[in-house]
Amino acid sequence: MKPPPFGYAAPCTLEETLGLLAELGHDAKVLAGGQSLIPLLSMRLTAPHTLVDINRIPGLGGISITPKGSVVVGALVRHAELLADESAHSANPLLRRATSQVAHPAIRNRGTTCGSVAHADPSGEMTAILAITGGSVRVASAGGGQRDVSATDFFLGPLESSLRPDELAVSVRFGAPAARTGSAFLELARRRGDYAMCGAAVTVTLDEDGAVSDVRAAYLSVGPVPEVHDLSAAVTGQPYASADWVAAGALAASLVDPEGDLHASADYRRRLVAVLTERALAQAAADAVARTQEAASCL
Protein backbone atom coordinates (compact mmCIF):
# COMPACT_ATOMS: atom_id res chain seq x y z
CA MET A 1 0.00 0.00 0.00
CA LYS A 2 1.73 3.13 -1.21
CA PRO A 3 0.31 6.63 -1.61
CA PRO A 4 -0.34 7.82 -5.16
CA PRO A 5 1.96 10.53 -6.56
CA PHE A 6 1.24 14.06 -5.42
CA GLY A 7 2.86 17.48 -5.53
CA TYR A 8 4.29 18.60 -2.21
CA ALA A 9 4.64 22.06 -0.71
CA ALA A 10 5.87 22.88 2.77
CA PRO A 11 5.46 26.65 3.10
CA CYS A 12 7.11 28.44 6.01
CA THR A 13 4.54 31.17 6.61
CA LEU A 14 0.81 31.29 7.15
CA GLU A 15 0.39 33.87 4.34
CA GLU A 16 2.17 31.62 1.85
CA THR A 17 0.04 28.64 2.96
CA LEU A 18 -3.24 30.50 2.60
CA GLY A 19 -2.09 31.84 -0.79
CA LEU A 20 -1.38 28.29 -1.97
CA LEU A 21 -4.72 26.97 -0.68
CA ALA A 22 -6.55 29.80 -2.46
CA GLU A 23 -4.67 29.16 -5.69
CA LEU A 24 -5.05 25.36 -5.68
CA GLY A 25 -8.61 25.14 -4.33
CA HIS A 26 -9.99 21.60 -4.51
CA ASP A 27 -6.64 20.28 -5.80
CA ALA A 28 -4.96 20.85 -2.44
CA LYS A 29 -5.15 18.98 0.84
CA VAL A 30 -3.67 20.15 4.14
CA LEU A 31 -1.20 17.75 5.76
CA ALA A 32 -1.01 18.15 9.56
CA GLY A 33 -0.11 15.09 11.68
CA GLY A 34 -0.90 12.77 8.78
CA GLN A 35 -2.34 10.12 11.10
CA SER A 36 -5.65 10.04 9.25
CA LEU A 37 -4.64 11.45 5.87
CA ILE A 38 -1.66 9.17 5.17
CA PRO A 39 -3.66 5.95 5.74
CA LEU A 40 -6.33 7.34 3.39
CA LEU A 41 -3.65 8.08 0.78
CA SER A 42 -2.03 4.67 1.19
CA MET A 43 -5.41 2.95 0.82
CA ARG A 44 -5.93 5.16 -2.25
CA LEU A 45 -9.18 6.50 -0.88
CA THR A 46 -8.05 10.01 -1.73
CA ALA A 47 -5.67 11.36 -4.35
CA PRO A 48 -5.10 15.08 -3.95
CA HIS A 49 -3.04 16.88 -6.59
CA THR A 50 -0.92 18.65 -3.96
CA LEU A 51 -0.32 18.22 -0.26
CA VAL A 52 0.25 21.44 1.63
CA ASP A 53 2.32 20.46 4.68
CA ILE A 54 1.72 22.91 7.53
CA ASN A 55 4.32 21.42 9.89
CA ARG A 56 6.94 24.07 9.17
CA ILE A 57 4.78 27.09 9.93
CA PRO A 58 5.86 28.82 13.13
CA GLY A 59 3.13 30.25 15.34
CA LEU A 60 0.57 27.50 14.79
CA GLY A 61 1.51 25.71 18.00
CA GLY A 62 0.69 26.53 21.58
CA ILE A 63 -2.13 26.03 24.04
CA SER A 64 -3.63 29.05 25.79
CA ILE A 65 -6.42 29.65 28.28
CA THR A 66 -8.68 32.64 27.69
CA PRO A 67 -9.72 34.88 30.63
CA LYS A 68 -13.11 33.14 30.59
CA GLY A 69 -11.51 29.70 30.85
CA SER A 70 -11.79 28.43 27.28
CA VAL A 71 -8.85 26.34 26.07
CA VAL A 72 -7.44 27.38 22.68
CA VAL A 73 -5.36 24.75 20.91
CA GLY A 74 -3.18 25.74 17.93
CA ALA A 75 -3.18 23.76 14.69
CA LEU A 76 0.19 22.09 15.33
CA VAL A 77 -0.46 20.97 18.90
CA ARG A 78 -0.15 17.17 18.96
CA HIS A 79 -2.56 15.05 21.00
CA ALA A 80 0.35 14.18 23.33
CA GLU A 81 1.00 17.85 24.08
CA LEU A 82 -2.62 18.57 25.00
CA LEU A 83 -2.69 15.42 27.12
CA ALA A 84 0.32 16.57 29.14
CA ASP A 85 -0.72 20.23 29.50
CA GLU A 86 -1.54 21.05 33.14
CA SER A 87 -3.14 24.45 32.50
CA ALA A 88 -5.56 22.94 29.96
CA HIS A 89 -6.32 20.13 32.41
CA SER A 90 -7.18 22.45 35.28
CA ALA A 91 -9.27 24.70 33.00
CA ASN A 92 -11.24 21.77 31.62
CA PRO A 93 -10.53 18.22 32.87
CA LEU A 94 -12.72 16.77 30.10
CA LEU A 95 -9.90 17.44 27.61
CA ARG A 96 -7.41 15.09 29.25
CA ARG A 97 -10.08 12.49 29.98
CA ALA A 98 -10.93 12.34 26.28
CA THR A 99 -7.47 12.83 24.78
CA SER A 100 -6.11 9.89 26.78
CA GLN A 101 -8.53 7.70 24.82
CA VAL A 102 -7.39 8.92 21.38
CA ALA A 103 -5.39 6.10 19.78
CA HIS A 104 -2.01 5.07 21.18
CA PRO A 105 1.02 7.11 22.29
CA ALA A 106 2.83 6.72 18.96
CA ILE A 107 -0.20 8.12 17.09
CA ARG A 108 -0.72 10.84 19.69
CA ASN A 109 2.90 11.99 19.27
CA ARG A 110 2.17 12.98 15.69
CA GLY A 111 -1.60 13.50 15.26
CA THR A 112 -3.01 16.94 16.05
CA THR A 113 -6.11 17.93 18.01
CA CYS A 114 -7.04 20.43 15.32
CA GLY A 115 -6.56 17.79 12.62
CA SER A 116 -8.92 15.47 14.51
CA VAL A 117 -11.58 18.18 14.50
CA ALA A 118 -10.93 19.13 10.85
CA HIS A 119 -11.20 15.45 9.92
CA ALA A 120 -14.75 15.54 11.39
CA ASP A 121 -14.85 11.84 12.19
CA PRO A 122 -17.94 11.16 14.33
CA SER A 123 -15.95 8.33 15.96
CA GLY A 124 -13.26 10.75 17.08
CA GLU A 125 -13.18 11.82 20.73
CA MET A 126 -12.36 15.46 20.11
CA THR A 127 -15.29 16.14 17.80
CA ALA A 128 -17.67 15.19 20.64
CA ILE A 129 -15.69 17.28 23.12
CA LEU A 130 -15.78 20.32 20.84
CA ALA A 131 -19.55 19.90 20.56
CA ILE A 132 -20.33 19.44 24.24
CA THR A 133 -18.11 22.32 25.35
CA GLY A 134 -19.86 24.61 22.87
CA GLY A 135 -16.51 25.16 21.19
CA SER A 136 -15.54 26.65 17.87
CA VAL A 137 -12.95 26.45 15.12
CA ARG A 138 -10.97 29.49 14.00
CA VAL A 139 -10.50 29.35 10.26
CA ALA A 140 -8.32 31.57 8.11
CA SER A 141 -8.29 32.19 4.36
CA ALA A 142 -6.30 34.41 2.03
CA GLY A 143 -9.18 36.73 1.16
CA GLY A 144 -11.42 36.34 4.17
CA GLY A 145 -9.21 36.99 7.18
CA GLN A 146 -10.22 34.85 10.13
CA ARG A 147 -13.63 33.73 11.37
CA ASP A 148 -14.90 31.51 14.17
CA VAL A 149 -17.23 28.66 13.26
CA SER A 150 -19.25 27.07 16.07
CA ALA A 151 -19.14 23.29 16.48
CA THR A 152 -22.80 23.16 15.41
CA ASP A 153 -22.02 24.87 12.11
CA PHE A 154 -18.71 23.10 11.62
CA PHE A 155 -19.73 19.43 11.48
CA LEU A 156 -21.90 18.63 8.45
CA GLY A 157 -21.62 14.84 8.23
CA PRO A 158 -19.19 11.93 8.62
CA LEU A 159 -15.75 13.24 7.55
CA GLU A 160 -17.47 16.36 6.27
CA SER A 161 -16.97 19.82 7.71
CA SER A 162 -17.90 23.30 6.56
CA LEU A 163 -14.20 24.12 5.96
CA ARG A 164 -13.77 25.40 2.41
CA PRO A 165 -10.80 24.15 0.37
CA ASP A 166 -9.10 27.55 0.64
CA GLU A 167 -9.43 27.60 4.43
CA LEU A 168 -7.06 26.48 7.16
CA ALA A 169 -8.18 25.73 10.71
CA VAL A 170 -5.62 27.71 12.72
CA SER A 171 -6.93 26.74 16.15
CA VAL A 172 -9.84 25.17 17.99
CA ARG A 173 -11.41 26.59 21.13
CA PHE A 174 -12.99 24.30 23.72
CA GLY A 175 -15.54 26.22 25.80
CA ALA A 176 -15.18 26.66 29.56
CA PRO A 177 -17.33 24.61 31.93
CA ALA A 178 -20.09 26.61 33.66
CA ALA A 179 -20.01 27.13 37.44
CA ARG A 180 -20.89 24.08 39.63
CA THR A 181 -20.42 21.83 36.59
CA GLY A 182 -18.69 18.47 36.51
CA SER A 183 -17.86 16.29 33.53
CA ALA A 184 -17.00 12.73 32.65
CA PHE A 185 -15.93 10.78 29.60
CA LEU A 186 -16.45 7.06 29.10
CA GLU A 187 -16.07 4.89 26.04
CA LEU A 188 -16.05 1.26 25.11
CA ALA A 189 -13.61 -0.08 22.51
CA ARG A 190 -12.64 -3.67 21.74
CA ARG A 191 -9.05 -2.80 22.62
CA ARG A 192 -7.84 0.28 24.43
CA GLY A 193 -6.80 2.90 21.87
CA ASP A 194 -9.08 1.63 19.13
CA TYR A 195 -11.91 3.76 17.85
CA ALA A 196 -14.78 3.37 20.30
CA MET A 197 -17.94 1.38 19.54
CA CYS A 198 -19.63 4.06 21.59
CA GLY A 199 -18.45 6.87 23.82
CA ALA A 200 -20.16 9.47 25.97
CA ALA A 201 -18.99 12.92 27.06
CA VAL A 202 -21.33 14.34 29.68
CA THR A 203 -21.70 17.39 31.90
CA VAL A 204 -23.81 17.79 35.03
CA THR A 205 -24.57 21.19 36.56
CA LEU A 206 -25.88 21.47 40.12
CA ASP A 207 -27.75 24.37 41.67
CA GLU A 208 -26.68 26.02 44.94
CA ASP A 209 -28.53 23.37 46.98
CA GLY A 210 -26.88 20.43 45.26
CA ALA A 211 -29.88 19.59 43.09
CA VAL A 212 -29.37 18.74 39.43
CA SER A 213 -30.10 21.72 37.18
CA ASP A 214 -28.66 20.83 33.79
CA VAL A 215 -27.50 17.61 32.12
CA ARG A 216 -25.94 17.30 28.68
CA ALA A 217 -24.34 14.52 26.68
CA ALA A 218 -22.55 14.11 23.36
CA TYR A 219 -21.70 10.74 21.84
CA LEU A 220 -19.09 9.23 19.57
CA SER A 221 -19.69 6.54 16.97
CA VAL A 222 -23.43 7.07 17.33
CA GLY A 223 -24.59 9.59 14.72
CA PRO A 224 -23.25 11.25 11.57
CA VAL A 225 -22.19 14.35 13.52
CA PRO A 226 -21.56 14.90 17.24
CA GLU A 227 -24.94 16.11 18.51
CA VAL A 228 -25.42 17.48 22.01
CA HIS A 229 -28.49 16.09 23.80
CA ASP A 230 -30.19 17.84 26.72
CA LEU A 231 -31.08 15.16 29.28
CA SER A 232 -32.16 17.58 32.01
CA ALA A 233 -35.83 16.60 31.79
CA ALA A 234 -35.13 13.18 33.35
CA VAL A 235 -33.42 14.46 36.49
CA THR A 236 -33.83 18.22 37.04
CA GLY A 237 -34.47 19.17 40.68
CA GLN A 238 -33.35 15.80 42.07
CA PRO A 239 -30.59 15.78 44.71
CA TYR A 240 -27.38 14.75 42.95
CA ALA A 241 -26.71 11.81 45.31
CA SER A 242 -30.02 10.09 44.57
CA ALA A 243 -30.71 11.34 41.02
CA ASP A 244 -32.25 8.82 38.66
CA TRP A 245 -29.31 8.46 36.23
CA VAL A 246 -30.93 5.30 34.82
CA ALA A 247 -33.84 7.40 33.61
CA ALA A 248 -31.42 9.89 32.05
CA GLY A 249 -29.68 7.00 30.28
CA ALA A 250 -33.04 5.72 29.00
CA LEU A 251 -33.92 9.20 27.76
CA ALA A 252 -30.58 9.39 25.93
CA ALA A 253 -31.19 6.01 24.30
CA SER A 254 -34.56 7.24 23.04
CA LEU A 255 -33.00 10.36 21.50
CA VAL A 256 -30.18 8.77 19.51
CA ASP A 257 -30.43 6.94 16.23
CA PRO A 258 -27.23 4.90 15.87
CA GLU A 259 -26.37 2.80 12.83
CA GLY A 260 -25.01 -0.72 12.99
CA ASP A 261 -21.76 -1.73 11.37
CA LEU A 262 -19.03 -4.39 11.51
CA HIS A 263 -18.10 -3.37 15.06
CA ALA A 264 -21.49 -3.14 16.77
CA SER A 265 -25.16 -3.42 15.86
CA ALA A 266 -27.48 -0.42 16.16
CA ASP A 267 -29.30 -2.00 19.12
CA TYR A 268 -26.08 -2.73 20.94
CA ARG A 269 -24.94 0.85 20.40
CA ARG A 270 -28.24 2.19 21.77
CA ARG A 271 -27.82 -0.04 24.81
CA LEU A 272 -24.25 1.30 25.26
CA VAL A 273 -25.60 4.86 25.09
CA ALA A 274 -27.94 4.09 28.01
CA VAL A 275 -25.33 2.34 30.14
CA LEU A 276 -22.41 4.69 29.47
CA THR A 277 -24.66 7.72 30.05
CA GLU A 278 -25.88 6.40 33.38
CA ARG A 279 -22.35 5.65 34.61
CA ALA A 280 -20.83 8.85 33.24
CA LEU A 281 -23.53 11.05 34.79
CA ALA A 282 -22.91 9.62 38.26
CA GLN A 283 -19.19 10.37 37.83
CA ALA A 284 -19.88 13.85 36.49
CA ALA A 285 -22.16 14.69 39.44
CA ALA A 286 -19.41 13.66 41.87
CA ASP A 287 -16.98 15.76 39.84
CA ALA A 288 -19.35 18.75 40.03
CA VAL A 289 -19.41 18.46 43.82
CA ALA A 290 -15.61 18.20 43.99
CA ARG A 291 -15.10 21.18 41.67
CA THR A 292 -17.65 23.28 43.55
CA GLN A 293 -15.86 22.57 46.84
CA GLU A 294 -12.51 23.33 45.23
CA ALA A 295 -13.81 26.64 43.88
CA ALA A 296 -15.23 27.54 47.32
CA SER A 297 -11.94 26.79 49.06
CA CYS A 298 -10.13 29.06 46.59
CA LEU A 299 -12.10 32.15 47.61
Binding site: K2, P5, G7, Y8, Q35, S42, A80, R110, R192, G193
Partner: protein, 180 residues
Protein backbone atom coordinates in the same frame (compact mmCIF):
# COMPACT_ATOMS: atom_id res chain seq x y z
CA UNK B 1 0.35 15.04 -12.82
CA UNK B 2 3.49 14.76 -14.94
CA UNK B 3 4.84 11.30 -15.65
CA UNK B 4 8.14 11.98 -13.95
CA UNK B 5 7.67 12.67 -10.26
CA UNK B 6 9.50 15.55 -8.71
CA UNK B 7 12.41 14.36 -6.56
CA UNK B 8 13.45 15.91 -3.25
CA UNK B 9 16.86 15.60 -1.63
CA UNK B 10 16.52 15.23 2.10
CA UNK B 11 19.13 14.77 4.83
CA UNK B 12 18.03 11.93 7.06
CA UNK B 13 19.67 11.69 10.45
CA UNK B 14 19.32 8.10 11.58
CA UNK B 15 21.08 6.58 14.59
CA UNK B 16 23.48 9.51 14.72
CA UNK B 17 24.53 9.41 11.06
CA UNK B 18 23.22 11.93 8.55
CA UNK B 19 22.84 10.79 4.95
CA UNK B 20 21.17 12.42 1.97
CA UNK B 21 18.44 10.54 0.11
CA UNK B 22 16.69 11.60 -3.08
CA UNK B 23 13.06 10.58 -3.02
CA UNK B 24 9.63 11.51 -4.38
CA UNK B 25 7.36 13.27 -1.86
CA UNK B 26 5.25 10.15 -1.47
CA UNK B 27 8.15 8.02 -0.18
CA UNK B 28 7.08 6.84 3.27
CA UNK B 29 9.70 7.28 5.96
CA UNK B 30 9.52 3.51 6.56
CA UNK B 31 10.47 2.84 2.92
CA UNK B 32 13.22 5.47 2.95
CA UNK B 33 14.72 3.79 6.02
CA UNK B 34 14.46 0.30 4.55
CA UNK B 35 15.13 0.84 0.86
CA UNK B 36 17.14 4.04 0.60
CA UNK B 37 19.20 3.67 3.78
CA UNK B 38 19.07 -0.14 3.71
CA UNK B 39 18.31 -0.33 7.42
CA UNK B 40 15.96 -3.29 7.23
CA UNK B 41 15.54 -3.69 11.00
CA UNK B 42 12.45 -1.48 10.79
CA UNK B 43 9.63 -3.75 9.65
CA UNK B 44 6.52 -2.90 7.69
CA UNK B 45 3.29 -4.75 8.43
CA UNK B 46 0.04 -2.95 7.80
CA UNK B 47 1.18 0.40 6.36
CA UNK B 48 -1.75 2.20 7.92
CA UNK B 49 -0.67 2.80 11.47
CA UNK B 50 -2.36 -0.14 13.18
CA UNK B 51 0.30 -2.80 13.79
CA UNK B 52 3.20 -0.76 15.15
CA UNK B 53 5.94 -2.87 13.50
CA UNK B 54 7.40 0.22 11.80
CA UNK B 55 7.66 2.31 14.99
CA UNK B 56 10.82 4.44 15.18
CA UNK B 57 11.82 7.21 17.56
CA UNK B 58 11.54 10.76 16.22
CA UNK B 59 13.57 13.01 18.52
CA UNK B 60 13.15 10.28 21.14
CA UNK B 61 9.37 9.87 20.85
CA UNK B 62 7.81 6.82 19.18
CA UNK B 63 6.04 7.44 15.88
CA UNK B 64 4.81 5.24 13.05
CA UNK B 65 7.33 5.55 10.22
CA UNK B 66 4.62 4.40 7.78
CA UNK B 67 2.59 7.51 8.70
CA UNK B 68 5.24 10.07 7.82
CA UNK B 69 6.87 11.05 4.56
CA UNK B 70 10.65 11.01 4.31
CA UNK B 71 10.56 14.67 3.18
CA UNK B 72 9.08 15.55 6.58
CA UNK B 73 11.95 14.02 8.55
CA UNK B 74 14.63 16.60 7.67
CA UNK B 75 15.94 18.23 10.83
CA UNK B 76 14.75 15.44 13.14
CA UNK B 77 16.85 12.76 14.84
CA UNK B 78 15.55 9.28 14.07
CA UNK B 79 16.40 6.17 16.06
CA UNK B 80 15.66 2.75 14.62
CA UNK B 81 16.05 -0.64 16.25
CA UNK B 82 19.63 -0.73 14.90
CA UNK B 83 20.37 2.32 17.05
CA UNK B 84 19.23 0.90 20.38
CA UNK B 85 22.40 -1.01 21.34
CA UNK B 86 25.22 1.19 22.64
CA UNK B 87 28.43 2.04 20.76
CA UNK B 88 30.20 -1.02 22.17
CA UNK B 89 27.46 -3.29 20.89
CA UNK B 90 25.98 -3.94 24.33
CA UNK B 91 22.28 -4.66 23.93
CA UNK B 92 19.74 -2.12 25.12
CA UNK B 93 18.01 -3.26 28.35
CA UNK B 94 14.82 -3.91 26.38
CA UNK B 95 16.66 -6.11 23.87
CA UNK B 96 18.35 -8.05 26.65
CA UNK B 97 14.99 -8.45 28.41
CA UNK B 98 13.32 -9.80 25.25
CA UNK B 99 16.07 -12.42 25.03
CA UNK B 100 15.80 -13.28 28.73
CA UNK B 101 12.00 -13.56 28.68
CA UNK B 102 11.56 -15.18 25.27
CA UNK B 103 9.63 -12.07 24.19
CA UNK B 104 9.78 -12.94 20.49
CA UNK B 105 9.15 -15.84 18.20
CA UNK B 106 9.22 -14.92 14.49
CA UNK B 107 10.55 -11.45 15.32
CA UNK B 108 8.48 -9.56 12.78
CA UNK B 109 6.81 -7.30 15.34
CA UNK B 110 9.90 -7.04 17.56
CA UNK B 111 11.57 -3.84 16.28
CA UNK B 112 8.34 -1.91 16.90
CA UNK B 113 7.97 -3.29 20.41
CA UNK B 114 11.62 -2.56 21.24
CA UNK B 115 11.52 1.08 20.14
CA UNK B 116 8.12 1.66 21.77
CA UNK B 117 9.16 0.13 25.11
CA UNK B 118 12.60 1.79 25.09
CA UNK B 119 10.96 5.23 24.79
CA UNK B 120 8.26 4.48 27.36
CA UNK B 121 10.78 3.34 29.99
CA UNK B 122 12.60 6.67 29.68
CA UNK B 123 9.62 8.07 31.63
CA UNK B 124 10.60 5.89 34.60
CA UNK B 125 13.58 6.44 36.86
CA UNK B 126 15.74 3.34 37.27
CA UNK B 127 14.47 1.63 40.42
CA UNK B 128 10.87 2.73 39.86
CA UNK B 129 8.30 -0.02 39.58
CA UNK B 130 6.51 -0.68 36.27
CA UNK B 131 3.30 -2.55 37.01
CA UNK B 132 1.89 -5.23 34.68
CA UNK B 133 -1.03 -2.89 34.05
CA UNK B 134 1.37 -0.13 32.96
CA UNK B 135 3.36 -2.60 30.87
CA UNK B 136 0.16 -3.62 29.04
CA UNK B 137 -0.64 0.01 28.44
CA UNK B 138 2.85 0.61 27.00
CA UNK B 139 2.56 -2.21 24.45
CA UNK B 140 -1.18 -1.76 23.80
CA UNK B 141 -0.63 -0.14 20.39
CA UNK B 142 1.53 -2.92 18.94
CA UNK B 143 0.36 -6.19 17.43
CA UNK B 144 2.11 -9.56 17.70
CA UNK B 145 0.73 -12.64 16.00
CA UNK B 146 3.02 -15.17 17.70
CA UNK B 147 3.77 -14.71 21.36
CA UNK B 148 0.38 -14.15 22.96
CA UNK B 149 1.91 -11.07 24.60
CA UNK B 150 2.52 -12.62 28.04
CA UNK B 151 6.28 -12.78 27.59
CA UNK B 152 6.36 -9.32 26.07
CA UNK B 153 4.64 -7.90 29.15
CA UNK B 154 7.16 -9.80 31.31
CA UNK B 155 9.99 -8.37 29.23
CA UNK B 156 8.86 -4.82 30.01
CA UNK B 157 9.28 -5.49 33.73
CA UNK B 158 12.56 -7.32 33.14
CA UNK B 159 13.89 -4.41 31.03
CA UNK B 160 13.19 -2.04 33.89
CA UNK B 161 15.07 -4.42 36.25
CA UNK B 162 18.05 -4.40 33.89
CA UNK B 163 17.98 -0.60 33.74
CA UNK B 164 17.99 -0.53 37.53
CA UNK B 165 20.86 -3.04 37.72
CA UNK B 166 22.90 -1.08 35.19
CA UNK B 167 22.24 2.22 36.97
CA UNK B 168 23.33 0.61 40.26
CA UNK B 169 26.51 -0.64 38.63
CA UNK B 170 27.21 2.77 37.08
CA UNK B 171 26.74 4.38 40.51
CA UNK B 172 29.06 1.79 42.03
CA UNK B 173 31.68 2.51 39.34
CA UNK B 174 31.35 6.23 39.94
CA UNK B 175 31.74 5.71 43.70
CA UNK B 176 34.83 3.52 43.22
CA UNK B 177 36.49 5.95 40.87
CA UNK B 178 35.64 8.87 43.17
CA UNK B 179 37.21 6.98 46.07
CA UNK B 180 40.39 6.29 44.13
Amino acid sequence: MSLIEEQFTVSLSVNGTTRPVTVPARRLLSDAIRHDLELTGTHVGCEHGVCGACTVLLDGAPVRSCLMFAVQAEGHAITTVEGLADANGRLHPVQEAFRDCHGLQCGFCTPGFLTTIAAALEEYEPGADVSDEEAREIVGGNLCRCTGYQNIVKAVGRAQEIRTERAGRADGDAATSAGR
